[in-house]
Symmetry: C2
Subunit: 338 residues, 2 copies
Amino acid sequence: MSQPTTKVTLADVARLAGVGVGTASRALSGSARVAPETRAKVLEVADRLHYVVSPDAASLASGRTGRVALVVPHLSRWFFGEVAEGIHAGLRGADLDLLLYPVGAVQERAEFFERLPARRKVDAVIVVAFQVLEAERRRLELMGVHIVAAGGQSAAYPYVRIDDYVAGRQAMDHLLFLGHRRIAMLEARDPDQPDLDPPRSDAYVEALRENGIEVDPELVVVGDWGGEQGAQGMSRLLSLRTPPTAVYAHSDEVALGAVRTIRRAGLDVPRDISVIGIDDHPLAALTDLTTVRQPAHEQGRRAAEMLIGLLRGDPGVDESVTLPTELVVRGSTAPPRG
Amino acid sequence: MSQPTTKVTLADVARLAGVGVGTASRALSGSARVAPETRAKVLEVADRLHYVVSPDAASLASGRTGRVALVVPHLSRWFFGEVAEGIHAGLRGADLDLLLYPVGAVQERAEFFERLPARRKVDAVIVVAFQVLEAERRRLELMGVHIVAAGGQSAAYPYVRIDDYVAGRQAMDHLLFLGHRRIAMLEARDPDQPDLDPPRSDAYVEALRENGIEVDPELVVVGDWGGEQGAQGMSRLLSLRTPPTAVYAHSDEVALGAVRTIRRAGLDVPRDISVIGIDDHPLAALTDLTTVRQPAHEQGRRAAEMLIGLLRGDPGVDESVTLPTELVVRGSTAPPRG
């Protein structure tokens, strides 16, 4: 793929597509008065030429779309739904509509970023809890489309997030304070980036190190974010010659899976094994799970407010917001026995 | 409010709004080439006159919007997120975008239906698990906007749902088969329609009646769909002189709240009290909760497919689909003691 260039004009696109400039402009602005085949041809040419709509020209030709794309990997999971509700709440009053793009698979995500800019369907994109590739981000920016991350772990663009390292430390420090030294980790990795060490794992390693405890690789089990994975991981930990006295799980769902396995083995939480998660999922309260609370709704709301500021061109918009997390002690953690 | 009429013409709207017919048409079709104040005026007049866009005229003037509104009360709850993902999956390939409208409050819902048709932002509306008023439905239909219910309990328009009475009977029949006779119900009512007897409650009453058991009003506690409500309701049941030996909850979240209260009282589930829910929420498997499974994702997918058929004008579209539910026996139910 060649570099995007700003030298290509609308007239170039129109000529190559074999249409008039007005038609090309309408096709790019998503006007319904253009035949689908014509539009497809114009978009194909624009995309091929890396045609960049000047924000001014676009706004003259078609104004704002009044729409924001919400790109979210797993809508059915609590965190994502909660962030989405927060985003909706933050946009209220701004007369912006939310176009929903669930993109569970990496392939869907790539297609989304491939197709969106040329179609010019939205003024902005909010991504929930995943990273946008640098090339994708640059492309959106060139098309005059803003991008904001809600619940993102790190980003080269405006974001609202928590500090995952701090959240992990709050969980680990609690277990260490209770006196645990043989602590296992049920680690959830991003399946798209399996080689990336998550900050929640860094927190585990450094908390142990600071307390003079060597990391025992047997005590680290890698899975995904689901409860069933937590249950399986816990089975593996129980099969060790010396199982852990405490388990630090990267999410509440993973933690609840671990609790099930422990109970099925006839053991008691927290008497035999302590378990802590991260999230404060509503069911954590119901299942008496100790956890580290993150403000999901607020991450969405603040991201939406940030976006409105960016769209308005407000000068003092704070583009890197990190919200605090806090330990919530419930009934699943206690000092080790004996 | 007077009756909608088809006599009002676009010219009438334009004249009263003080604009040309072309501008009025563009304003109604949502074109961005109309100043916001002008559009507001045209919409206000159109709304006031109950101006009805003829589907043909609309499609000539502006074509299809290519968008579907997804109207959903509680996105952060599992069921709704799962249905939304199913809808997205069902629309894939149809080149339709989803506009997301979370409408938690009744007032938001009213506003949505008040504003949507005149704005003509979408070709169709999918509502998730709530009822649309007859007047609202008629208005949409007059504007040429299709409506489909996903996960709706009953409807005068096309729907995909489960049979809530049957689901309730599967839960109750299981408890009765195990030998329970003193069965409580944690009933979740729609806060918008608190006087409507839900079919899940009819199932309770009739199952008892058929087994010659009189309904004891003390054993029925009304709340909403949240886990905390289930926990509180269970406290009330434990305060009775003769608490129940089994609890039928209208949802898994309510059931999990009840389980927490029972455990906090030092009692065992299911040895002392059995608990059953409805849904098969992912955490039901993790918490070993017996439940009645409903296919959430499939309800969304099927509703989307139904909608595509209706938009295409396919003749044989089945507009009333009821999907089966099934009992999932886990560890929270057992015969009563003694």
